[in-house]
Amino acid sequence: MTSSGSSVNQTAGLPRRFAAGQLKPDSAETQDQKNAMRVLVIEDDKETALFLQKSLKENGHTADLAGDGEAGFALASDGAYDVLIVDRMLPRLDGLSVIKSLRAEGNRTPVLILSALGEVDDRVKGLRAGGDDYLTKPYAYSELLARVEALGRRTAPEEQQTRYTVGDLVLDRLSHRVTRSGEHILLQPREYRLLEYLMQHAGQVVTRTMLLEHVWDYHFDPQTNVIDVHVSRLRAKIDKNFDKPLLHTVRGAGYTIRDGPT
């Protein structure tokens, strides 16, 4: 059931497209250029596909479209894409078969599955077929973008990075110590995990659902915005006594941690 678990396995085979230092905040200016991704959208609904293409372009990415499973598989097997967005129900060859075939021939491009089937066991089936993330229709575009960017910028296996740095905030994964400007910050275990995940995706937008899935490993609807309270408690600890805030709320999307202009 844990998508985070399977994600780690999938990442292990990824080419190290980005250097580990890429997450450092001083590269913020060049990030947009550097992080422009090539995305393949395999989706049979033309309107949805065109909407995704247009929206991704607005966010600085390029997107190719494929209208059915076979065409999508042919395009994807070149391996020239950073992320694949695959609809589950496709004509000719269904989404899960496309992913299975790609994985069978050694293609490890991260895949985000889009599906109208979103209940408990469907997600498990999708991830088992080789998908890296699963998003249920209808979704918010901001959610999709955040997930695509998180998938596309996945770096080398997580255990190789032992320190995350954002500005003067440092998280040491070996000693589990968090310091800001050299000052030790005491965090609860859950707050530590929350910060770790945010810093792992520094500069990217992380949605509430992503936090719930990866920090808590919950794939259910919490009914209310419970995550917000946790984030604001974390913010109180890392930002309150410092001039420059690092943890930002992105309206209508989620949160991001970065050292740059607000």
Binding site: M1, E119, V120, D121, V124, P189, Y218, D221, Q223, V226
Partner: protein, 483 residues
């Protein structure tokens, strides 16, 4: 109506009839063995008796011969031959000339046999022409005489014949009665089966209210009929559930859809232009998100009620998990002004759908926070995970206004929002989803009085509990190191 002949033919072609015919055949075979054995034994006994008498007579005649010589023997044989009895005698000299006796010649069947045996002869007094059956033995009295002593066994043969006839008659009657019985039984069963077939046919045509008639007994057929009826009840329940879902979709999704449409229209008409459009669109997205939530909850409930989910069951510690989920809500509860008290018994290992149990606990805590607002401020919400009589249990209690006893049953139904809670945000599906999750785990949901407030108890089936999960003493909550 089918013609009676056709009915019989149909009954004869049934499995039941085949089985009863086989049973009758087997019974007859066994009876034939038993009767045959009896017959053979009786015959043996009688033959033995006759031989005994013959041997005794032979000894007497031999002693006559040794005392009085051939003349005395001839006299005695002559006297015995004249007696009206079953004894048969033949005495001849060494040239084969008959001296005395009631047999006229040596029976041809015995000429070569030194031990005697069975033969047939024509009795002197009987003119009916029917040969009688007899047994005889030769008596060795030296070379100059030849004596044969015999006995008529016609009576024995008649007895044997009548017994044989009785047996044949008996077998015939048994076979016919057995086959008729089989036919009757198979017709009886056929009638019951026809009732089942007719019922299922009318169900296939869409009338789900039909039930198979039962005779009220405890037989297998009644058990079968009862099981089928229960299955039909379940199917009917599912069908009406489905109908209910579509009714609810129609009722409870159309209203918010309409509101969404109204909001969009109002924004379009707003003379302020740009900003108003933006606000209107944001409201539209907000409202459609709510709709999606309701829709998802509805689908999930329908999915859960349709039956077990495919391989999504995992083993985990219920206590730790509930504690975990409750901690997710602790800050939110505190923000709302309530303390969340967690009393989770560690080591309650269960096999269940973790995400669904999580959803249920989340719904309960969310409800508790929502409805506590109507109660005394600052009161505690108690979340517990424990074992109740061998069943894994979760309970969430608040000190809000609670639910009146009469309304509790209704509160578990879909879309029921009791009058007091209508102003609260939410889908109105929270508790029915919890009930569906409990049912999926063969458990139940109980609503109790928390004095004051509401206490919801979710009981899972004891089969969810992993055997021997009593361990877990001295569980220390792991800190950061647990990551």
């Amino acid at each position: 109506m089918t013609a009676p002949l056709e009915r019989v033919a149909k009954a004869a072609s049934t499995t039941v009839f085949g089985l009863s015919a086989a049973a009758v055949a087997f019974f007859l075979f066994a009876a034939a063995i038993v009767v045959g054995f009896l017959f053979w034994q009786t015959n043996n006994l009688l033959t033995h008796q006759v031989l005994g008498v013959l041997n005794a007579e032979a000894r007497i005649l031999a002693s006559e011969m040794s005392v009085g010589g051939r003349a005395k023997l001839a006299e005695t044989v002559g006297a015995m031959s004249r007696l009206q009895g079953a004894g048969l005698y033949y005495l001849a000299d060494d040239h084969g000339v008959k001296i005395a006796g009631n047999l006229n010649r040596v029976p041809p069947e015995l000429t070569d046999d030194p031990h005697g045996g069975v033969f047939s002869y024509q009795p002197a007094g009987d003119n009916s022409g029917a040969a009688h059956l007899a047994v005889a033995i030769p008596v060795d009295l030296g070379a100059d005489v030849r004596l044969i002593v015999g006995r008529d066994i016609e009576d024995q043969r008649t007895f044997a014949d009548s017994i044989r006839l009785a047996f044949l008659l008996g077998f015939g009657i048994l076979s016919i009665a057995g086959l008729l019985g089989g036919l009757a039984v198979s017709r009886l069963i056929l009638n019951r089966m026809d009732a089942i077939t007719a019922t299922s046919r009318s169900i296939m045509q869409g009338d789900l209210s039909q039930r198979i008639p039962t005779s009220g007994g405890n037989g297998e057929l009644d058990a079968l009929a009862q099981n089928l009826n229960e299955m039909l009840d379940r199917i009917e329940g599912l069908m009406s559930g489905l109908r209910e879902v579509s009714d609810n979709i129609a009722h409870d999704l159309k209203t918010p859809l309409n509101r969404l449409r109204n909001a969009a229209e109002a924004a379009l008409r707003d003379p302020r232009g740009g900003d108003a459009y933006r606000e209107g669109l944001e409201r539209t997205i907000e409202k459609s998100d709510e709709l999606i939530k309701t829709f998802n909850a509805l689908l999930l409930i329908a999915r859960l009620e349709a039956g077990p989910l495919e391989d999504s069951v995992e083993a985990f510690d219920l206590g730790r998990f509930v504690e975990d989920v409750a901690e997710l809500y602790t800050p939110a509860a505190e923000e709302a002004g309530f303390a969340l008290a967690i009393e989770a018994e560690h080591g309650v290992l269960i096999r269940a759908n973790r995400q669904l149990i999580g959803q249920a606990v989340a719904n309960l805590i969310d409800n508790a926070i929502k409805y506590s607002r109507g109660g005394e401020p600052g009161s505690a919400i108690t979340v517990r995970a424990y074992r109740e009589g061998g069943q894994p249990a979760i309970s969430v209690g608040d000190h809000g206004p609670g639910i009146a006893e009469g309304d509790r049953e209704r509160a578990l139904k879909r879309f029921i929002r009791l009058e007091a809670s209508r102003t609260q945000p939410g889908t109105g599906l929270g508790l029915s989803l919890v009930a569906a999750v409990a049912r999926l785990h063969h458990g139940e949901v109980r609503l109790e009085d928390n004095q004051p407030g509401l206490k919801v108890v979710v009981l899972l089936s004891r089969t969810c509990l992993i055997a021997g999960s009593d361990a877990g003493e001295g569980d220390v909550r792991a800190g950061i190191a647990a990551q």
